[in-house]
């Protein structure tokens, strides 16, 4: 660990103890003693992690280390073998959250127009039809997105479909948003555009976001913290702080601090890959 990192991490660990700052930096998600096996393979063994509030956290690590498994367990898509995951001390079914799947084609409902897709989670919350209409319209206006929501998903481009997926996840005003490699099925041009859209959404909403990425540059570029996982059984190899100013843009990519952080993450990643 370099000196800079040591001070950074000690800063983060020290903060919760200080009474004045505790309200601000109390972790949003606390994971304790998390264990998960697939067959005989131990993916997580007594895993502890705190996710800070209002930050965009990228999860990055070697192939098959359990990046998606982690957010899927936090979001309740797959059961845990053991351990506890709390959101401000509450359980998952007591909070509002959103989840964006990698495969937007299979995650959206093709029999519904984009508008009804976005409004669907509100319908599940038994929100009246009129309020659903209002809330979707409010969200669209707030995001400033120009999309014909009367189209069916299959009439839209991949990026537009994923945008609809993200809006569907955001319409409930989630406390936390999970994104599982949301851009990896898009072409490069659309990926760049969608990164900007996501950053904008994050800056406007301040929602805690957990993003699984298989692209290190993307992981660092979008994140406030990069969670680097080791090979399974997964440990936190590093929880790097990325404090480049927002909004980040093309210039950020060549910013020395960004380049240094990216190199740092790559070094840890390669160390973890070689370890086995």
């Amino acid at each position: 660990m370099t000196v800079a990192q040591a001070t950074l991490s000690s800063q983060f660990e020290a903060l919760p103890q200080s009474a004045t700052a505790s309200a601000v930096v109390r972790p949003h998600v606390t994971i304790r003693g998390l264990s998960k096996k697939f067959g005989n393979t131990v993916i997580y063994d007594n895993f502890d992690l705190d996710l800070p509030r209002g930050k965009l956290i990228s999860v990055f690590g070697p192939n098959g280390c359990g990046k998606s498994t982690l957010i899927n367990m936090i979001a309740g898509l797959i059961p845990v073998d053991a351990g506890q995951i709390l959101f401000d001390g509450m359980l998952l079914d007591e909070i509002k959250f959103g989840y964006v799947f990698q495969n937007y084609r299979e995650a959206l409902f093709p029999w519904m127009r984009a508008f009804d897709n976005i409004a669907y989670p509100l319908k599940m919350m038994k929100v009246s039809k009129r309020e659903r209409q209002e809330r979707v319209e409010k969200l669209v206006a707030h995001l400033g997105i120009k999309l014909d929501l009367n189209l069916y998903p299959y009439q839209m481009s991949g990026g537009q479909q994923q945008l609809v997926s993200i809006m569907r996840a955001l319409v409930v005003d989630p406390e936390i948003l999970f994104l599982d490699e949301p851009f990896s099925a898009l072409d490069y041009e659309m990926t760049l555009f969608m990164r900007e859209q996501l950053q904008k959404l994050f800056m406007e909403s301040g929602t805690t976001m957990v993003l699984v990425s298989h692209d290190l540059e993307e992981a660092v570029y979008l994140a406030d913290r990069v969670l680097l996982l080791s090979r399974h059984p997964a440990r936190v190899a590093d929880f790097t702080v990325v404090d480049c100013a927002r909004p980040r843009d093309d210039a950020t990519l060549s910013d020395p601090e960004f380049v240094r952080l990216k190199a740092h993450c790559l070094e840890i990643f390669q160390r973890e890959v070689r370890r086995s």
Binding site: G76, Y99, E106, A107, F109, P110, M124, R168
Partner: protein
């Protein structure tokens, strides 16, 4: 220029067949008693369908086929959804379904004759039996193969098990259900026509074909065959149009 002719491509085969038919008859290559000139067959078709007996037979076959398909669908679709939503239940009944689906429905005629006697009941119930198994199989598979991501997405948004069934599984299975309905109605027509030939029938296209052949009225026999062909094609087309209208996302 060639592009302008493209819409007429589908009739090329029809025209070709008619030319071969005419050449075969007028060229003296076949016995005109066995294969009458196209003109005679079409006159018989026109007269028969225009207030003739053939029209009555046609309507009777349509009625029987529609009834048997309807009965099959009403039984098989809900059953298919129930079976498909529980993989274990389906696995335990899969062999029975596959076995009877593979059994020629015509082999069931004697059994159904004992159960329902000589009449429409037997014809319709054997056809419904055959069609129901085809529809059941397709619906169950459609439900079972519902995209896992879509089910998860609904679950993550707080949909209950029942809502997932009605909002996702049911709609997910629709394209496959229509495959089952199209195959089912085709099979029902085949069984009905066979039944009309041999199971003491007084009317229907099968009866018409058989009677014309017995009386050696060849133009009338060909007319009845064409009517049966048009019916089969029309029913398939009808289901395709319904599918395109209501399952607009199919294959996209």
């Amino acid at each position: 220029m060639t592009r302008l002719l493209d819409p007429f491509l589908p009739i090329v085969g029809v025209v070709g067949l008619l030319i071969i038919w005419a050449v075969a008859v007028y060229g003296g290559f076949v016995d005109p008693v066995l294969l009458p000139p196209p003109k005679d067959a079409f006159i018989a078709l026109w007269k028969g369908m225009n207030g003739g007996v053939l029209w009555i037979d046609f309507v009777r076959t349509v009625e029987r086929t529609v009834w048997s398909t309807l009965i099959a669908a009403v039984i098989a679709i809900p059953l298919g959804i129930v079976l498909g939503s529980s993989e274990r239940l389906y696995r335990s009944l899969e062999f029975v379904i596959d076995f009877f689906r593979s059994t020629p429905a015509s082999a069931m005629f004697p059994l159904f004759l004992v159960l329902f006697g000589v009449g429409d009941k037997t014809k319709i119930s054997v056809a419904a039996f055959g069609a129901a198994l085809v529809i059941l199989f397709n619906v169950a598979y459609g439900v079972m193969n519902a995209r896992k991501t879509r089910l998860l997405a609904a679950k993550v948004m707080g949909a209950s098990r029942l809502r997932v069934l009605f909002d996702v599984m049911l709609l997910e299975s629709l394209p496959q259900t229509f495959v089952g309905l199209r195959n089912g109605v085709s099979l029902a027509l085949v069984i009905i026509v066979v039944a009309e030939m041999f199971i003491g029938s007084q009317d229907g296209l099968g009866h018409s074909v058989f009677e014309a052949q017995q009386l050696f009225e060849m133009p009338r026999m060909y007319a009845a065959i064409f009517a049966a062909g048009a019916l089969g094609y029309g029913l398939n087309l009808l289901f395709l149009l319904i599918e395109r209208r209501f399952v607009h996302w199919s294959g996209k």
